[in-house]
């Protein structure tokens, strides 16, 4: 068994798939794993080297030989929180290239089901985050939104907000992965690594947002009907893990968890 070690990013996963596939060792003889996993006996380990050319070859062949919708599914799977997503995509691609387009409907096949499940999980979180992300205004009118999603959905979210708020300067910051999407009014957005001390300092600066935050909290509490109070239902619809990032739940007793920064 030869194990290919690849990184977490989408491009690194494409390159891992390329290397494993092109090694010509046979699909049963190779495996993709993230770096830092437990080591297996009697295995050869190879580090994957990431180059844009290899990644482009993989995406091109998925898009031309399968379909654009299939590529979208695989791309989302590559953003998933599953640590073994690289290998799962690899297994799926073996099937997909053998059976052709339309394979994504055959959920009874384990490899397809894995991709479907990762997609479902990611899409649900994305749908949640589109609504639950909160921005607050910093100096010079820049909006800052801090999020802590399980899946790596910052690119999807940034595209969503770029369409929604083209005339605003905003930063979307993933607290767990230390990535930020930075958008400039009237221009596009870029994804940047935000793990330096400068970023920490810039993002922790306090702002005088009291006015609209208070108004929003007022609205949030007065819109509830007391006779229908149902915290269980609220918890089902809006799980606790989202609440540390949401201004309306600031200081509530169940919201003790701190934002991991």
């Amino acid at each position: 068994m030869t194990i290919f070690l690849c990184g977490e990013e989408v491009e690194e996963i494409w390159c891992g798939i390329y290397d494993a596939w092109m090694s010509r060792l046979g699909h049963e003889q190779v495996r993709l794993e993230p770096a830092g996993c437990n080591l297996d006996l009697f295995c050869e380990y190879r580090q994957v080297i990431t180059t844009p050319e290899k990644a482009a070859k993989v995406t091109d062949s998925i898009r031309t030989r399968l379909s654009e919708s299939c590529y979208e599914q695989i791309y989302k799977a590559a953003l998933s929180q599953d640590p073994f997503r690289g290998d799962k995509i690899y297994r799926f691609l073996i099937l997909a290239f053998a059976l052709g387009n339309g394979v994504q409907n055959r959920l009874q096949l384990p490899a397809v089901y894995e991709i479907f499940q990762m997609n479902r999980n990611l899409t649900r979180e994305y749908d949640h985050m589109r609504g639950f992300t909160r921005f607050f205004q910093m100096q010079e009118g820049i909006l800052l939104g801090k999020i802590g999603p399980k899946n790596d959905i910052i690119t999807l979210l940034a595209a969503h907000f770029a369409d929604r708020m083209p005339q605003e300067n905003w930063i979307l910051y993933d607290c767990g992965r230390k990535k930020a999407a930075v958008h400039q009014a009237g221009r596009g957005w870029v994804l940047v690594r935000a793990d330096s001390a400068l970023w920490e300092e810039r993002l922790s600066r306090e702002t005088d947002e009291a006015v609209f935050e208070t108004l929003w909290k007022t609205f949030h509490s007065s819109i509830a009907i007391a006779q229908r109070r149902n915290p269980r239902c609220q918890m089902n619809m809006l799980p606790l893990r989202f609440r540390p990032y949401m201004v309306e739940f600031e200081g509530t007793p169940e919201n003790r968890a701190k934002i991991s920064e």
């Binding site: 059976l99 339309g102 409907n105 055959r106 959920l107 009874q108 089901y113 749908d127 589109r130 609504g131 639950f132 992300t133 909160r134 921005f135 607050f136 205004q137 909006l143 939104g145 907000f161 770029a162 369409d163 929604r164 708020m165 083209p166 005339q167 605003e168 009237g186 609209f212 208070t214 108004l215 929003w216 007022t218 609205f219 949030h220 509490s221 007065s222 819109i223 509830a224 009907i225 007391a226 006779q227 229908r228 109070r229 149902n230 915290p231 269980r232 239902c233 609220q234 089902n236 619809m237 809006l238 949401m246 309306e248």
Partner: protein, 482 residues
Amino acid sequence: MLLQETMELQEKLRILSDAAKYDVACTSSGVTRGGKKDGLGNTFASGICHSFSADGRCISLLKILFTNQCIQDCKYCINRRSNDVVRTAFTPEEVCTLTMEFYRRNYIEGLFLSSGILHSPNYTMELIYQTLYRLRNECHFNGYIHVKAIPGADAGLVEQVGFLADRMSVNLELPTAAGLAALAPGKTREKILAPMRQVQRGIAAQNVRYLESGEKGYGLRQGTSSRIGMANSVSHPGRNVWLPESGRTGRNFVPAGQSTQMIVGATPENDYQMIRVAEALYQNYDLKRVFYSAFVRINDDSALPVLAGGPPLLREHRLYQADWLLRFYGFRAEELLSEKKPNFNVLLDPKCDWALRHLEQFPVEINRADYHTLLRVPGLGVNSARRIVAARRGAVLNFADLKKLGVVLKRALYFITCSGRTMYPIRLDENYITSQLIGTEHQKSWELEHHASYRQLSLFDDYHIAAPVTSADRESVRTGTL
């Protein structure tokens, strides 16, 4: 009545959102519209929920009244004329500021603007129009707007507002004319249905225009639209025939359709009457949604019922379930209920209930049955039925596969076969299946009904042990030989 205009914005927001909270229509669905380069906002057909309040309801839109001042005296409403509450009103600027600033921070998906009737329906509608006009044209707000059409306002005004809003709604409030007469003295069926018909015709006329002009996509192009003002709109009040001829501003007329709401449990109408009305609204008025709102007794009025156990939440839940069956599952109201059986089963959901009364149509073979037959199986929904149809092209499905496809087997297993076999040996018998299903369903309906109260299980009360204690019992307890 004294209208307090010089009040702090926060206090106004508290009062006017508190007054709007009994309106249930808080969805931002029905229209997908991409962002604009110079504007703020876009919309999605699926709608986006931005938060959930303590009652578990979604907060999608900034749901406020323009004013809680009202000339009507509807018995169930907190803002009725005869109530002694603080009255206030927003200014159009305040509504715009709140909407824009909340939207920028991603608190909300758009604005839901309703209003009590200040002075007259026309005056109120005019205020709403001014607000929306400012929001769309001066603030360049491109997000979702849901607005109430005020019954009794001029057709021309309703038209103008319709071109600025995404969704319009007129609340039916009570399903029968008798109920309306009893609780809402100022409203009549005709007055409520007139603007509903107008909006429907407006949307229909717009669709016809698209077909004729051969234009694809949404939104009237500038240039093709001629300016039609209030004076030009054709109005025949007697027959409610009115057609908007074209967009004034290059916008669509009510692109997300219209909705309405009915109060559940304030008047003695039964469930059958409610869903018959809902079905008629879907068929005759092309409504997108009918909302049901469990009656909350806010006013202490002798005309209102006192409901033990609070708002009828389970009944509301069953009505929503039936509503989904009408809209997405191809059911008709008469199939679910009848004059003889006018109310929903408390213990079973409407679909299971229907299936148990029609066991002759089951079991359904998963690998052969068509999509519409699959949709009628309890435990299968639109998603899982679609997945089954797609997945079985490549292979024969078994029960383990169905679980992966998202079928709820604990309900479905009594009604389906895979390759001619049921999952377990099952008797296709109404009583047997009912008792099996109720075991799982009972718990849920119990939770809905008694969501806040828990109670110690009592051997004597719950198992009806009523026999008197004999001396032999006492002896056996003492000696430990029960």
